[in-house]
């Protein structure tokens, strides 16, 4: 590999990040938001979203691409929270209860997801995406019809007036920001939810440690080449299932953290955007389908949310319609996922071709330039 880093190449490898910085910088001025406000919002959103984005890392290491099936974990979390509210368990106790109650469910859902994805090797991402839609149906069936009828949920505050099914919006007052307020530190004009950040830091340490374990190494081997891993005695399918299970459980905990910060929960919609925002964030941060690091996660969360903070106001000011900013947000989110996937697929094809032509040239003219990278 040549050490030369030309401008063109630098741009190509960081195209997504560069485009994001430019759009955000352009939008700050017309948005009319103060820098203090933007930074405070960013701190809040980092505490809220980082955990969910970190949940994506392990499946990427295991070569399964972006885990769109993480939505399953989010659904488990919401069921846990519904029970916490039902039994009226407040504060951090409520959060701990929600996590403990939903973890077995998340493990079970992750196991199913892993099995399904193993049956669809090579198209994990699209399958995971559809699986999330499918499970959305099951979730709705469970929450809208079984809760309160077959599943004992008593609290009239959360049941629909017909006697069964959970209301559209749940008030999470009992656990609202209980993690954030556990250790809120004021630094100048900013308040920092240290406890939330400590949880995120703990997860980062876990991931760094996990990568060094035997299982973590196996996972990377599977991600690198399934056949080689298989012939060296690594149980490929099992390792992939474990990666998805861990990711689903982390997504579940992440969703609890996310919702305690939001303070209320759209019972039937809160989980639908989870994977979309997390995937967009990690891709904006420079990750690809096959490669991701902790840095990608945090860069991505900052960049994506900086843009999300400023665009609605900028849309309002420039076009006179806040709706445009909202659509623009969605367009950018989906667009960036598409763009990163395209760039990655394109680049890996080019590299494959480059390597092949390099081989060919070496056989005919050994002195010819352009050997495999």
């Amino acid at each position: 590999m040549s050490g030369k880093m030309t401008f063109g190449r630098f741009f190509r490898e960081n195209a997504v990040i560069i485009i994001f910085i430019i759009i955000t910088l352009l939008a700050i001025q017309p948005s009319g938001l103060s820098l203090t406000y933007i930074v405070q919002e960013l701190i809040t959103r980092m505490g809220r979203n980082s955990f969910l984005v970190l949940a994506l890392l392990l499946p990427i290491y295991a070569g399964m691409g972006l885990n769109f099936g993480m939505t399953l974990g989010a659904m488990a979390a919401q069921i846990g929270l519904i029970f916490a509210i039902n039994y009226n368990i407040t504060g951090t106790n409520g959060l701990v209860f929600a996590v403990l109650a939903s973890t077995p469910l998340a493990i079970f859902l992750g196991w199913i997801c892993g099995i399904v994805l193993n049956m669809a090797k090579g198209r994990e991402m699209v399958t995971g995406f559809i699986l999330a839609y499918f499970m959305d149906g099951v979730y709705q069936f469970f929450v809208l019809y079984l809760m309160g009828s077959a599943v004992p949920v008593k609290s009239p505050a959360i049941l629909l007036s017909r006697g069964y099914g959970i209301r559209n919006t749940l008030n999470l007052d009992a656990v609202r920001q209980s993690l954030d307020n556990l250790l809120m530190v004021k630094v100048g004009p900013f308040s920092i939810p240290v406890a939330a950040f400590l949880v995120v830091a703990a997860l980062c340490l876990f991931i760094v440690w996990f990568k060094k374990t035997k299982l973590g190494q196996d996972m990377r081997a599977v991600g690198h080449d399934m056949h080689v891993a298989d012939s060296s005695g690594i149980p490929v399918n099992k390792t992939r299932i474990i990666a998805i299970i861990i990711s689903t459980v982390l997504a579940c905990v992440g969703q609890v953290i996310f919702l305690q910060n939001m303070g209320n929960m759209a019972t039937y919609n809160a989980h639908t955007q989870t994977a979309f925002f997390a995937v967009a964030a990690i891709l904006v941060g420079g990750a690809s389908v096959k490669k991701a690091s902790l840095a990608n996660v945090f860069i991505g969360v900052v960049l994506l949310h900086a843009l999300f903070i400023v665009t609605p106001n900028a849309g309002q000011k420039v076009f006179g319609q806040a709706q445009i900013g909202e659509y623009f947000r969605q367009f950018v989110g989906y667009g960036v996922i598409a763009l990163s996937l395209v760039l990655y697929a394109w680049r890996s094809r080019q590299e494959a071709e480059h390597a092949r032509s390099g081989l060919r040239q070496n056989t005919t003219a050994p002195a010819a330039e352009g050997g495999a990278k």
């Binding site: 149906g137 659509y327 996937l341």
Partner: protein, 347 residues
């Protein structure tokens, strides 16, 4: 006995279950005071509304591009055509066919670019198509607000600009196909002859096309690209052609849908449409890399039958609206089933 088992495996359990479930619904309908005649009328109507979308998936499946999760691009082209035809004040048959003509350049443009893109990302088409489709839907959402449409029937009355979320086509080309030679029996049964004829003609032309030179080459590219290239077929060109045709049919599909449904739906509406079409063709027996006209017609009929019958029968029986849940589970379940099946053709 073995041959029966073979037939069952070939057809697939999910399809058999859905088929019998639908039959059961038709038998159960009279018991819960749902008119079977009206139900049949609905099913035929919705079959015609949606069949073109499902047909649009065939070329890309055949050329090896997989399921067209980016069908929304074609739908957006169709929406442009439909709104433009109202903007210039076309009505009646001229309005309907005018909309198709006006949509065509956009469909060719979008399809061409989209096809070129998919050629660069072979093997990852489906995920990328999905996100390209989503991004395009929201890009066009911004455009619906900004484009200088002026027809009073379409823009927000208050601001005088920006298109409405739903636009009625009643004064332009409502039921232009449905009412053509329509057969009425009693009050509740209307057979939309024109619409069904249109679908039939489209399916027939697709059938012919797949047997013509270009169509055969396309199928060859789909079943074995290397072999096709060795035979002197340009793989990329065939794939692009298939994407353009698919996008164009998506555009025609939405216009046919609108003339029957009565409204043009803009903004977020096209997002979910590709999924319904994909579920339908898969229920009909297509796989990720093989589809036929029978798959299209049977699949659309079964899927739309299910969507029509479940709400009416189950709601009357249980007094609650489970249709959304049933729709989510059935349509996505069948897509997962198709994606997880081992493909018999080795790639």
């Amino acid at each position: 006995m073995r041959s029966f088992k073979q037939i069952v495996t070939d057809f697939g359990w999910p399809r058999i279950i859905i088929f019998f479930f639908l039959v059961l619904l038709f038998f159960a309908a009279p018991l819960v005071q749902v008119s079977v005649l009206a139900s049949f009328s609905d099913v035929f109507n919705r079959f015609g509304q949606n069949a073109i979308f499902v047909l649009a998936l065939v070329p890309m499946i055949q050329s090896g591009c997989g399921l067209n999760f980016g069908l929304s691009l074609g739908i957006l082209a169709g929406l442009l055509g439909a709104t433009l035809s109202i903007q210039v004040g076309l009505s009646g048959a001229a309005g309907f066919f005018g909309a198709i003509v006006l949509a065509s350049p956009f469909a060719v443009l979008f399809g061409g670019a989209y096809g070129k893109l998919l050629n660069k990302v072979k093997g990852e088409e489906m995920t990328i198509a999905m996100y390209v489709g989503f991004a395009a839907v929201f890009f066009m959402s911004i455009m619906w607000l900004l484009l200088p449409y002026t027809a009073a029937d379409m823009v927000w009355g208050f601001a005088g600009k920006g298109l409405r979320t739903t636009i009625s086509v009643e004064r332009y080309w409502l039921h232009i196909l449905n009412d053509f030679l329509a057969i009425r029996i009693g009050d509740s049964f209307i057979f939309p002859t024109g619409e069904i004829l249109f679908v039939g003609a489209a399916a027939f032309f697709m059938w012919l096309f797949l047997r013509a030179k270009t169509g055969t080459a396309m199928t060859a590219v789909g079943s074995n690209p290397d072999y096709a290239r060795a035979g002197g077929i340009s793989v990329d060109k065939m794939r692009t052609i298939s994407v353009v045709i698919s996008t164009f049919l998506g555009a025609v599909g939405i216009i046919v849908y609108e003339q029957s449904f009565g409204f043009i739906q803009l903004y977020g509406a096209p997002m979910a449409m590709p999924f319904a079409a994909i579920a339908a063709i898969l229920i009909g027996g297509a796989s990720v890399n093989k589809a036929s006209m029978v798959n299209v017609l049977v699949g659309t009929f079964l899927f739309q039958g299910l969507l029509t019958m479940t709400p009416s029968v189950i709601n009357s029986a249980l007094n609650s609206d489970m249709s959304e849940v049933v729709r989510l589970i059935v349509s996505n379940g069948i897509i997962i089933y198709a994606l997880t099946r081992k493909t018999k053709v080795t790639k």
